[in-house]
């Protein structure tokens, strides 16, 4: 039976827009998926992988048109169906797990009702039957205390639990195929693992075929039977997961495998041509923090949020000090206190012997040039109305004005440092890719020759191959300019590539710290061990 594919996509072409703005997003994709198998479609943003998922659901976004090709689900040709029949097909035969669990549930309906709604619409179950089946489903996807949860609203559930609810809805009518579009990209690693485990067990229990769309090669490696690699709308490589990863044929796949942080473990070294500044051996730390505390007052009855509950840390000169933790662990709050973006409730921060935490007003403003920040969302941290030239030289305005020619020369020089050509000077943030925008943000941070760079999740919004390039750039720049980094990340695989020292945060406190090798190779706490084992890609490195 398993030889007959439940999903068959043949020569699929999809275009967006029309006329000159026409964009050919998918160009001739063929897929086959048999019952009980997991097929991962891997690619970077813009590769067309999500468009393929939409086409399989018969839900192409506005402006997108299927120009050629067929999609057959369970022997039925989708393109011949009318909207009504398609709607019945979705849910009955094809289930869907969306990317963002926080936006995909109706906020004013109770969890149980939302599952029951799907059941009643597709199976014609009675109200009472649907309600009790909904609770069973919640139990099946591993939500503790399902009776109580069924009566709760989406905002009362964490992201991980919400994604499990959505998985429950996708499987509610025991469909033959489930399409999961980046189902765990918005989740913490440990939660990601539980959610994916749950999908796999449902797959095994019901013999469902799963089409898993992901940018994360490591996730695909761990979970998929077969992998399809897409680039610019074309499948460049496909085959059994183990083969594709062990012996990638196409150069793009090879680049992806090499870049995936979960799949190798070494710390990046500065490239050979980079001339490193000789390290000074002074033993005093560049920055030290003692007893940092930050509490956000709760709104109404929810009570205060203890974001950071007493953090001490010391960052030595020219090292990369990383803080890892899951969302809500207080790592970003700590970094923002150190960068003096927000004020600590109590505690002391000393920078190069001076008491940074006591500075105010003009003195603080002048001092800011020693500590610069690179934010997570590269495009969001750049003023959309300014050209790159103005953006990178803006910090220098704080020191005084300069002539137009001087500014252009400085800007070109700064761009050169982050390996961007002068042709980018006139562009605006919207005309840059994520990686280019982050390079511009780094160039801007370097403009005032800071000593400490606070890097708040600087690569988590980027595609893996770009991630790797930006990390390499950071390592090179560190050697070239003798910079000190405070690196914040939720991704241990990335942290492993760049850190000298690591502090692991959980619930507002540092639970473990030490040299990178020690924390990663011989973790001292159960929490750190769980974080490390949750890094996807273990299937390959093992």
């Amino acid at each position: 039976m398993s030889d007959v594919p439940v999903l068959k996509v043949t020569d699929l072409h999809v275009t967006y827009g029309s006329g000159a703005a026409r964009h050919h997003a998918v160009r001739g994709v063929d897929l086959e998926l048999a019952a009980g198998r997991i097929l991962a479609v891997v690619g970077e943003s813009g590769s067309g992988k999500s468009t393929v998922a939409n086409a399989v659901l018969g839900l192409l976004p506005d402006g997108a048109r299927r120009t050629e090709g067929t999609v057959e689900v369970d022997g039925i040709e989708l393109t011949a169906l009318r909207e009504r029949a398609l709607r019945r097909l979705r849910g009955d035969v094809v289930g869907f797990v969306p990317q963002d669990p926080s936006r995909s549930l109706n906020p004013v309906l109770r969890i149980g009702e939302q599952i029951a709604e799907a059941l009643r619409r597709h199976t014609g179950a009675s109200r009472a039957n649907a309600a009790s089946r909904a609770i069973e489903i919640l139990d099946e996807v591993g939500i503790p205390d399902p009776e109580r949860r069924a009566r709760q609203y989406p905002h009362e559930l964490s992201g991980g639990l919400r994604q499990r609810v959505l998985i429950g809805i996708a499987w509610a009518c025991t469909p033959q195929i489930v399409v999961a579009d980046e189902p765990t990209s918005a989740l913490d690693v440990t939660v990601q693992r539980h959610v994916l485990d749950r999908m796999e067990s449902l797959r095994a229990a019901h013999g469902t075929a799963v089409l898993l769309i992901t940018h994360d090669l490591a996730v695909a490696a761990d979970r998929a039977d077969d992998i399809v690699v897409m680039q610019q709308g074309i499948i460049v490589e496909s085959g059994p997961a183990a083969e594709v990863l062990a012996a990638p044929q196409h150069e793009y796949t090879r680049a992806l495998v090499a870049a995936a942080p979960g799949l190798h473990s070494a710390r990046l070294r500065p490239r050979a041509e980079v001339t490193a500044v000789t390290a000074d051996a002074s033993g005093t730390p560049l920055l030290s923090a003692r007893g940092l505390v930050k509490t956000y007052p709760g709104d109404g009855g929810s009570g205060a949020v203890h974001a950071v509950t007493g953090v001490d840390l010391e960052i030595r000169r020219r090292e990369t000090f990383s803080i890892v933790g899951e969302s809500g662990s207080g790592k970003s709050t700590t970094a923002r206190m150190i960068a003096r973006i927000i004020d600590a409730d109590s505690g002391e921060i000393r920078f190069d012997g001076e008491e940074l935490s006591a500075m105010e007003g003009e003195r603080l403003r002048r001092f800011r040039r020693y500590i610069q920040v690179v934010f997570q969302n590269p495009v969001g941290s750049l003023d959309p109305r300014m050209s790159v030239e103005k953006l990178v030289t803006e910090p220098l305005r704080a020191g005084g004005t300069m002539s137009r020619r001087q500014r252009a020369a400085t800007a070109a020089e700064l761009l050169d440092q982050v390996r961007l050509g002068p042709e980018h000077l006139e562009r605006r943030p919207a005309q840059l890719s994520g990686g280019q925008a982050q390079r511009v943000a780094i160039a801007r941070a370097l403009a005032v020759r800071p000593e400490l760079l606070v890097l708040d999740e600087p690569v988590s919004a980027l595609d893996v191959s770009v991630q790797e390039q930006v990390l390499q750039l950071l390592v090179d720049l560190q050697a070239e300019h003798g910079l000190t980094y405070l690196f914040i990340s939720h991704d241990l695989a990335v942290v492993r590539q760049i850190s000298d020292s690591i502090a692991v945060m959980s619930q507002g406190a540092i639970v473990e710290r030490g040299p990178a090798a020690q924390v990663l190779e011989a973790p001292g706490t159960a929490y750190t061990r769980e974080l490390i084992s949750a890094i996807p890609g273990a299937a390959v490195t093992a």
Partner: protein, 265 residues
Amino acid sequence: MRRLLNPVALLSVLVLAVTLVAVIWPALLAPYDPFDSVGTARLEPPSWDHLFGTDALARDVFSRVVHGARLSLLAAVLATTAGAVLGALIGLVSGAAGGRVDFAVMRVVDVMLAIPGILLALIVVASLGFGAVSIAIGVGLGATGSFARVMRAQVMRVRNEEYIEAARTMGLRRPTILLRHVLPNASKPIVAMASTELALAILAVSALSFLGFGAQPPTPEWGSLVSDGRQFIATAPWLSIMPGSVILVVVLAVNGVARNLGGNR
């Protein structure tokens, strides 16, 4: 490209182009002198010679409407500009300061919004004296409240953007951040709103001059032209209907363009 092919927008642009000519160079469109009688033909109905007919003093109404465009439209543009600039400034300060300043300023704005715009304009005209400029100030003040509200909301949105935080960590001064980053990024909706407000302002200015607060005779002005025709409404209705229709068409045209501006950003 599609925006240009939209027939409503195209027609609106055409109407406004003609109106603009009337404002800049009325003699090009008007066949007669707006102040002098064109013979003895009093209260004549529209004809090819006199498109909008003639009034009680045998003046060509079409010429008077064309010459009236300058005063009516300049007053409306002045009103909208004043309202937008003042409102944006209030909104910027209020949104950027936050806390008690914001609270106090917004209560004043609430009071301004509670009073109907036309009433506020009447109060201003009554205290400043009659004339197009005081009408403009009055109407502008009436629109200030809504501009302030929109600007404040925008400033509060932009203030939380990451690039504002980035600007702070660069060590830029607060006023620099406000003027270079917050203001330009917050003022887009103000521009879109100003174009819709312009249509309302043309109506308000005309209404006030209809009531006799505007330019005094014999200066032609749209609202007062409509008003002039009132006494002959039974015998020579075109005296009011023609200028009234012109106001309607121009307002619709401004709206048509404004809607397309808003829809395309």
